[in-house]
Amino acid sequence: MLHIVNKSPYERNSLESCLRLASKGSAVLLIEDGVYGATKGGSFEGKVLAAMADVKVYALAPDLSARGMADRVLDGVSVVDYGGFVDLVAEHTNCQSWL
């Protein structure tokens, strides 16, 4: 399953809820303001690193660049473009947007 999160983990509870309810082996794609969850040095970093033992985390490149965060992506996060986003949707049997 592909989980899509588009909000900053510092503003909303959506990434936290997503990680709580994502089964082992799921993929989590961070887009829009969600990409802040994929970056280094913040207080949410530990939760994402811990979650990466069970889920694969992706972040959308155009959203990282727009926010000036492309150079501080957490190790282990895969950066994808919109084409990669489409591939993730196609590769997983279903997807849930954590709005």
Partner: protein
Amino acid sequence: MKIGVLVNEGPYTHEASDSAYNFVKAAIEKGHEIYRVFFYHDGVNNSTRLTEPPRDDRNIVTRWSELAKAHNLDMVVCIAAAQRRGIMDENEAKRQGKDANNIAEGFRISGLGQLVEAGIQCDRLVTFGD
């Protein structure tokens, strides 16, 4: 693969419409079929031809219209959500006794059933919202 897209927020205020547009373009480039783009909640506000954004900014509405024309996209605006928010086509305006309509080219107003039907017909349904 047959993909449906749901857009839940209006233009400019949230990035949802941008993300959906970029996703749809990429999916078409990858050879997928976009079965339908369904506009719900404030998403219906993407379909008004009365927007006039600053010249140095993207024009979200006409960008959708052009993409639809180029790729024969089915862009459906939920009728109930549209009525609440003031999106009207010629028929609806007549039916509701309104003196104007504002829908842009390439969008059609229809029922929520079109969303459920897209969920049934598509291999994937991807939602963009707030």
